[in-house]
Subunit: 116 residues, 2 copies
DNA sequence: TTTTTAGTAAAGCATATGCTTGACTATCAA
DNA sequence: TTGATAGTCAAGCATATGCTTTACTAAAAA
């Protein structure tokens, strides 16, 4: 099964940067212009735009330019992909713990805890 | 609100790399030795160990050396933090859409609030 | 029309990353 | 004790990243 949508690696790489996470957090509250996004950041507008370009390349974000203003908005699909991958790993992990529990008999011994 | 646990940035950076994701996926199925992890990867053992060091520094993974074998295992806490951050963003996003829905319920068009 | 304002493009630079190769150490096996 | 196995340390190198500064263009405002 291939990635139909955007690639997970670039998405994770995009949101691994603290500046870009601030941008995503702001965009989660609603669309914003490039300068509104760059406004609070302790760096040049150009630097902020380079971050935006990374987010957009990873399709974490989309944007549309109207007049001289480019409005950027979050693409929730990207975040869903992250969620999905993480959930898959957690599932595999928990299944292993279940098997381990069975194997070890019914002893309420070590290693496990509450998993859902 | 600060990060109590491990830092999200390093965790995301760690799992942004495809090689390291393969490692995490393998570890989700159960602990493995360094060489078992490195085994399938198209790179030197040393390179694989450098990846492992990144995962361990981010606390995505823990390891313990017994005899000459180091056994690596997944630390699900790190993945939970990713899950949490993503969920927070999605929540903010959806709340905004809800408000927008209410707003559009009565008044005509237009899609904004205040974005600075 | 002139001047801001919003956004772009591109070059340059310091640092970080991902990998290699070449030692080396500690443990287990024969 | 000798040798193979599992892992480690470190230097070196090419490429990627994050940022800056110096131009520019296009749209709105004055």
């Amino acid at each position: 099964m291939l990635d139909y949508q955007t690639a997970l690696g670039p998405i994770l790489h995009a949101i691994a940067d603290p500046t870009r996470r601030v941008m995503v957090e702001q965009l989660a509250k609603g669309p914003a212009s490039v300068s509104a996004l760059a406004g609070r950041l302790p760096m040049s507008l150009q630097a902020a735009m380079q971050h935006l370009a990374v987010l957009e390349a990873a399709e974490v974000v989309r944007s549309e330019k109207i007049g001289r203003v480019r409005t950027v908005s979050l693409n929730p699909t990207a975040l869903r992909q992250v969620e999905r991958w993480v959930a898959e790993q957690k599932t595999a992990w928990e299944r292993r713990l279940d098997r381990l529990g069975d194997y070890l008999g019914e002893s309420p011994d070590d290693e496990r805890k509450d998993h859902d």
